[in-house]
Amino acid sequence: MFNFIAYPLANLMLLLYTYLGQSTVLALAVLTLLINLLMLPLTLTQQRSARKMQEIQPELEKLQKKYGKDKERLAQEQMKMYKEAGINPMGGCLPLLIQMPIWFGLIGAIRYSIPSTPLELFQFAPHIYKWLPGIVGIMPLQSTFLGMDLGQPPNSTQWWSYALPILVFVTSWLQQKLLTPPSTGDGQSQAEMMNQQMRIMMPLMFMFFTLQYATGLSIYFVLSSLVRIVQYYFAQRGQDGEKVEGRRRAGLKQAK
């Protein structure tokens, strides 16, 4: 379904593998980093939008209480508030929609470049860009990493391969924890409960998912979560900087 994205990305993976010392893990790391960099503007827009939305939530609730029965008026007032706060109501959703095919494509690319079944390898064969330099003959990639076959699911022969799904859980949990803003409420609200559930459910689902699939995918999930945690860290620093800057200006104004 997302092969129109998966095939070019899988070819990019092959190219990276060729020029990064024929290391599958290194190629995977650079590919994940590149895609995340490419998506950075979208991710930041989405995060900013979510943050602003969070900030005006109390105001929105007030509006809901005030105009709860008059839906039309409520919508008008909400739009007004969004406009005043400089929020595009679709700002959180649209970047996600644009990103989804790329994430699916990337996962497809990993499955094609580190295939776990003969059929996956065969499906990719006619879609290798032979005109890319150094690409002829490099498939299937040398996919052994720390004694594990990156094309196979974790197994008890290489018992340490189970560390990867656990790492997937830990890193995605950390990412969820950082990226889901803490609730300002009393800790009992439905919203907060949902957030808490999400923080555990998503990483758990990722973990069970990676237990059944090739370890190459686990490495991608771990790298991806790490990249987002680092992104978050930098975004947070930028945000703190803005706040400091804001306070400094406010201070200057008062002094005048």
Binding site: F104, G137, P140, Q152
Partner: protein
């Protein structure tokens, strides 16, 4: 606030579900193929790997002779992909039992069966990876490559491991055994000649891509294709390269040889006839559909049968490469057809019928297994 977050939560859950389904390919039943099944004809019988069973059918009408295991629902032996190896006494097959539950792992076994009855003789469980293509019998041994990178030689009578040969990548090729030498390629880009009795390397040839096909032998020269888009002619005694022919994409399957011509297909669906002595192209026929397996020749060498991924079996005139007839089938054709005097047999995956017998002259269907309307599932 609640409504907004609830919607967001639902949306995220939806996305997650889509992600899981999308990546898992919505895989359904346990026996959904992840590889291709193989078949071979020996004497009057057709031996086919048919996912949960090894089927032995009468070549003349497709009537079942025996199957192993007889009842896979109650007594499962895993999924069979690898083409059975058959001699006068034995049928040797390999299966993969998929992992059950999160912490189990697939089991990979070689089974030796009595040729006449299908009775189980021994099982070998020593390999860690999937068996993809099958093995070969010779000198009292069964030799097979595995995805764990090893070549295993098993005593045909007892199933005891005689020797292993380790390569640096998966071994998906069926070996060729000629007197006391095993010729086998690996995905480590090497093609090896091994001493049949102990697995010692006699010579090894390094290509620029993975070797997955069985070589064809003619007058002391081996012909084998590779994932570097080349078809190699190697001296069978020394491993020296005589020539190579460049195709458009990987040569995955095995070439076929007749008189002085080598026939091979690349995965783009180009079928080539190449002069065995010089490596010059005689003709090229582009089928336009991906082709995984190597071609098969009719007994008189006048026709070449090539199956393509779209389920079509093509019959080409070996003189000029023109398509004499083509017969569509439901599913995908990914393994080399088996050919008798007047019938060509094909194995389909992802289709309602898994084996079909077609007349070599015109592609007319003689029988199909399971027969139309027979509900095997």
């Amino acid at each position: 606030m609640n409504r907004f977050l609830k919607r967001r939560w639902l949306a995220l859950l939806g996305v997650l579900a889509a992600l899981l389904l999308g990546v898992s390919g919505c895989a359904g039943g346990a026996a959904r193929p992840t590889s291709w099944t193989g078949l071979t004809i020996v004497g009057q019988e057709l031996y086919a790997a048919d996912l949960e069973q090894i089927q032995v059918l009468k070549a003349s009408d497709g009537a079942p002779v025996w199957s192993f295991p007889a009842n896979p629902q109650e007594d499962s032996r895993g999924v069979f992909y690898a083409t059975p190896a058959v001699d006068d006494e034995y049928v040797v097959v390999a299966s993969q039992t998929p992992a059950r539950g999160f912490f189990s792992q697939p089991a990979n076994s070689v089974w030796a069966l009595e040729r006449d009855t299908g009775e189980e003789l021994w099982e070998f469980e020593g390999a860690a990876g999937q068996y993809v293509e099958g093995g070969a019998l010779g000198g009292g041994l069964f030799v097979i490559g595995n995805s764990d990178g090893n070549v295993y030689a098993l005593d045909i009578e007892s199933g005891a491991l005689r020797w292993t040969f380790e390569t640096d990548h998966r071994v998906w090729a069926v070996p060729l055994i000629i007197s006391d030498t095993v010729y086998i390629g690996s995905m480590d880009r090497h093609f090896y000649a091994l001493n049949l009795s102990n697995g010692d390397v006699r010579w090894d040839f390094e290509g620029e891509g993975a070797f997955t096909g069985t070589p064809a032998l003619r007058d002391g020269t081996l012909y084998v294709g590779a994932f570097d888009d080349r078809l190699y002619a190697l001296d069978a005694n020394t491993g020296d390269k005589r020539w190579h022919f460049a195709g458009e994409n990987w040569f995955w399957g095995s070439p076929a040889v007749y008189d002085e011509v080598i026939y091979a297909a690349d995965v783009n669906g180009n079928v080539y006839a190449v002069d065995a002595e010089t490596g010059e192209q005689i003709w090229l026929e582009a089928l336009g559909e991906p082709v995984r397996a190597g071609p098969a020749l009719s007994k008189d060498g006048s026709q070449l049968f090539v199956g393509s991924q779209d389920g079509t079996l093509h019959s080409l005139d070996t003189a000029d490469g023109f398509v004499v007839w083509s017969r569509e089938g439901e599913g995908q054709l990914l393994s080399t057809p088996a050919v008798s005097e007047s019938v060509v047999y094909e194995a389909l995956v992802f289709g309602p019928q898994r084996i079909r017998a077609l007349h070599v002259d015109n592609g007319r269907e003689i029988w199909a297994y399971p027969a139309a309307g027979e509900d095997e599932e």
